[in-house]
């Protein structure tokens, strides 16, 4: 599949590639969309979202899950803030399952699992953790550990059995897979492409992520995400009155 087919060239805003194990942050304004493309297969993208204008309003895992009765994310689901508003909507997805539960590994986890790979010896192939990557990006915007809340892991799949035991499913995302996030608020996005903490792979080999931003169509009354659940109609209402 060609990751750029549905984006009209006149709407394209910018493109950027994020190194495997790297981190990125930026502002996506209401009315823009961001495509996240798994360039190499098996990428994990730990993501957090904040209202750019009042960063105490932030992505809320529990509200996102319980409002939509889900433990995974795909097309139709939206990412809720703690204020009952929609930060962004998943308007396209070739993957089918994104993990909102597994969290991020910290530096101790990464060293224990993959050994120590410092900059001194490995230059930019050094191992980095998702937690540290997110903290670096948050630091650029005056945020820190207190602002680091439960995150989404795009492209990764973790399933629970009846007893609640978690299992990471390798091969969930292939090279070329993508999802599109449409931003319903002016949103600060922080990302890390470090490995998922439950990824059983013994090699530190995180893949690259391509970001493509464009001007999106405004969600109409018949919008798929708005109508995906009755809760989402109210979530969109709460969001839209902020901009009236």
């Amino acid at each position: 599949m060609n990751a750029t087919t549905s984006i009209a060239p006149g709407r394209l805003l910018w493109e950027e590639t994020v190194h495997g194990g790297g981190h990125w942050s930026g502002v996506l304004r209401r009315g823009t969309a961001l495509r996240l493309v798994d360039l190499d297969g098996g990428v994990n993208v730990a993501a957090l979202f904040y209202n750019q204008e009042e960063k105490l309003e932030r992505y809320n895992m529990a509200d996102t899950l319980k409002a939509q009765h889900t433990a995974h994310l795909t097309r139709g689901f939206v990412c809720y803030s703690d204020m009952g508003r929609v930060l962004c909507s998943i308007v396209a997805d070739t993957v089918g399952w994104h993990d909102p539960i597994g969290g991020v590994a910290d530096n101790k986890d990464i060293v224990a699992k993959y050994g120590e790979h410092r900059f001194q010896e490995h230059r930019n192939e050094m191992t980095r953790s998702g937690r540290e990557g997110l903290l670096i990006e948050l630091g650029k915007w005056g945020l820190g550990a207190r602002d680091l809340v439960a995150n989404v892991n795009f492209f990764s799949k973790v399933v629970a059995d009846e007893a609640g035991a978690l299992r990471f499913q390798p091969g969930n995302s292939k090279a070329g897979d993508y999802l599109d996030l449409r931003f319903e608020m002016n949103t600060l996005v922080a990302l890390s492409t470090a490995p998922h903490p439950l990824d059983p792979g013994s090699q530190y080999a995180p893949g690259r992520l391509q970001l493509i931003a464009w001007r999106a169509e405004a969600p109409g009354e018949d919008d798929y995400c708005r109508n995906f659940r009755p809760e989402n109609r109210r979530g969109f209402y709460n969001t839209e009155i902020l901009f009236r």
């Binding site: 529990a62 319980k66 703690d82 009952g84 508003r85 399952w97 439950l198 109210r234 979530g235």
Partner: protein, 218 residues
Amino acid sequence: MGANTIQPSNLDPATAVYDFTLPAGEPWMHEIKRGQTLRIVDLEGNQAVDTLFFGARDPAERYSAQDTVRRQGNVYLTTGSALMSNEGNVMLRIVADTCGRHDTLGGACAAESNTVRYALDKKHMHNCRDNFLTALARWGHRYGMTKRDIPANINFFMNVPVTGSGGLTFEDGVSAPGKYVEMRAEMDVIALISNCPQLNNPCNAYNPTPIRLLVWDA
């Protein structure tokens, strides 16, 4: 872990150093010292107890639902669960549990999320986030804590199963009158509880009820 691991306690309420009954819909904030044991008793059954823990020396270290779940490889809390901080440290361990399963994915109710989940006109109803903010307004200045410090919490006595197909369901409770959960502190912590006032969810039979909180010294 995660299967129902019923484990009663030998501790005698008569020897507790703290014994308090918290009415429904009230906040509670209390320091638990390393080595002390906190018991939460579901007095009337299926009462949601929204609970957070913070490091007493540095409240920026706090309970992390995702770290707890991923490190134990299981979404439910019960006997043996280590309640992990965002810094990767064990804050408390669940040492007894007569309920068998507790939720840490469903989070707290809030005025704003109630408008999304139920109806726009539910915004006025009392909720756990207001309780957390009430507690921080009353006592949070001692620790420099604000809304910024409120992450995803534990819902003791709530049964919120994750299905194999990735659904999240709110099932009838597995708790009952008198069931309790007990946890031993591995560091000095501040416990923050909202005894949930939710009136829109059948999980508590639309009837929030009191809980009993007991603390024993090491």
